[in-house]
Symmetry: none
DNA sequence: AATGAATGAGGATTCATTCAT
DNA sequence: CATGAATGAATCCTCATTCAT
């Protein structure tokens, strides 16, 4: 007897709820301190149900890290055009967008920082993050190179500059831990832009 | 009968050995995955001995975070003079030094990143780090303000710039995870300097 | 999906089994020497299951002391009528009953003796015992006072006599440790009665 | 090199101090909860020294139970004369003395109660207590029999009466736990005497 | 599919005891 | 003799996971 559409929908919602709560708990308490029981309670399901949707704790963690990455995070961070006509403006818009994303996804980024910081402990999820970061860097390099060629940015090693830019984004996430940060982040556009070594 | 000097020395060395191994393990595997047994084995002592030198796992972690901070880290990071005659040179030397420290203390910084990233989980060690970061920022602000006044740096909100600089240092620690980084870091002086918004 | 009646029943029986074995072990070996593993083994369950039914060892001990108290012990010991018509007969029946209870509940009383003897170590269970003993004493005083008024007992401080009577019951539990005591206890009715200072 | 008298004396005092503190701690906290370290601290010596005077924890407990027994306790409790001229007076004096001892040696009796209450756990010290109790009972029987023959006490089974008397002494130790009991105990002479079934 | 009882591996910690100084 | 560092057995408890209902 196949499941009805309504049932499928309900199950998908339940899975999503579990995943969201898992992200929050993993981010705030770390992998070991986050128990399946806590996730279940926060999601309003029995802990047995968590195993219905995720094979085991490892898999739950893996999905907590990779699903937001592959849906929103990746899409939003890569949403800039290295070949844009008005490249200076495109760069400024990109910085604005990136900073906004890093504000909004604070919890998820806490999780990302853990995976990167202890990558030997989390090889599978780290691999996904690493691959994305390479892709991100590649696209940044493209943009930087173009901008240099067009005299918008000073000459520099684009690869290094791109990595420094990514490092900066992650770093400020650590430095401005839980301020009501929105207004501070607004100002962070300036150093972020400086990092790219703009012509004056 | 008090302990002989030789014994005291031996104990201090043993304590140091345990602490060093704890730092490595905590950094690489995190708090929970680092068992007292692992630390003991890595240090070549019985697990019971760990409790001779550290009250409990919590305390061991606390000391793993704070002792390097209060000995080398703090001293080295604060070793610059905001009132120096040749301030431009002082700033460049500072950046050079800071970057070198962040290279050399990779493992320790992995630990720092964890504490900051999950500060609600580690309130006591975080407090120490936070206090130091405030002190560090204060001194940076002083230097930046002086440099702006003397026309070495462009005008900017010194507080924000200082925090961005610290964020950058932490962030590149995450981005350049385990490269043989020395030669890359050499180049990182440039973006680090740009971040401070130098006059051209 | 709620548990079936059969399951609930099975669980109640398991809990009871654990509690009974815990009482025996605590009584014979004391609190610390009674390990959760021993209780589990004696009950035929895994040690993990003990924690399914009792929060921790402390709670298990607490319930081992208080549950028999509140079910059989309390009820049986208080089952006499201080206002009975034929008070002399009522007193003799009471003594008979009390002594029989103290015979039958030997193991439980071993446990009670420990809690009283080391009451600073077991404040919560002791509180329960102490409250019951006050209630018991109160009712005894009532009976003794009535009996004195009706000329069945000689004058004496009822409060003291009541406590002496309770002390006697506990004391013989210690003195006649593990005899096949039934026939001896039969004879103990005489001194128990004398303690109440009967008119001759 | 033989020890000087002064040294020997100092050592004896140290041993005594350790034993006294051990009695207190064993009585109040029980066997397992009393650690060698606690005893050492209370005695003002290093825990290593405890092992200089007592082979191990078991032996320390054994001596804590038996030494007071064989010095003061035994002597004082047996200090009555079953063949005394004025036997009624002798009995009353005996009761008075016994009760006084049970007041004064409260802590030690807490320990005794533990050993009796968990005698399977403490076979060696229990053996000593049991032997003494037999001796005590024997002497009591003698006195009771004589008193009955002389018409001071009513007829009863002397053996049972003697045990009831001992039980009573132990029992009130449990019932009147930590009152400022002296004045209450004074009054306890009456029921204690009644227990022996005196002629009126 | 959902529930939660049962299990036992694993880990922190305590503490008696040994033994070098 | 006195001291206390070192050791590891033993214990409580947590928690992922399995599986019967």
């Amino acid at each position: 007897m196949p499941l009805s559409d309504k049932q499928i929908k309900a199950m998908e919602q339940k899975r999503e709820k579990i995943l969201q709560q898992a992200i929050i708990l993993f981010a705030e308490q770390g992998y070991e301190s986050t128990t399946i029981a806590k996730v279940a309670k926060a999601s309003g399901v029995s802990f047995g149900s968590v195993f219905t949707y995720f094979e085991n704790k490892d898999q739950l963690f893996y999905h907590a890290v990779t699903e937001p990455l592959n849906t929103v995070f990746k899409v939003d961070l890569l949403d800039f055009d290295p070949e844009a006509e008005d490249l200076l403006n495109e760069i400024k818009n990109m910085i604005d967008k990136h900073i906004r994303i890093f504000i909004e996804m604070r919890t998820y980024l806490q999780l990302v920082v853990q995976v990167i910081g202890q990558h030997t402990k989390f090889p599978e999820p780290f691999k996904e993050l690493d691959e994305f970061s390479l892709e991100f860097i590649q696209k940044l390099i493209l943009m930087i190179t173009n901008a240099q060629r067009r005299g918008i940015l000073e000459e520099s090693e684009a690869d290094l500059t791109a990595k420094a830019y990514l490092g900066f984004l992650l770093g400020i996430r650590l430095t401005f831990t839980d301020y009501a940060v929105s207004y501070i982040w607004e100002k962070l556009k300036i150093p972020a832009f400086q990092l790219l070594y703009p012509k004056r």
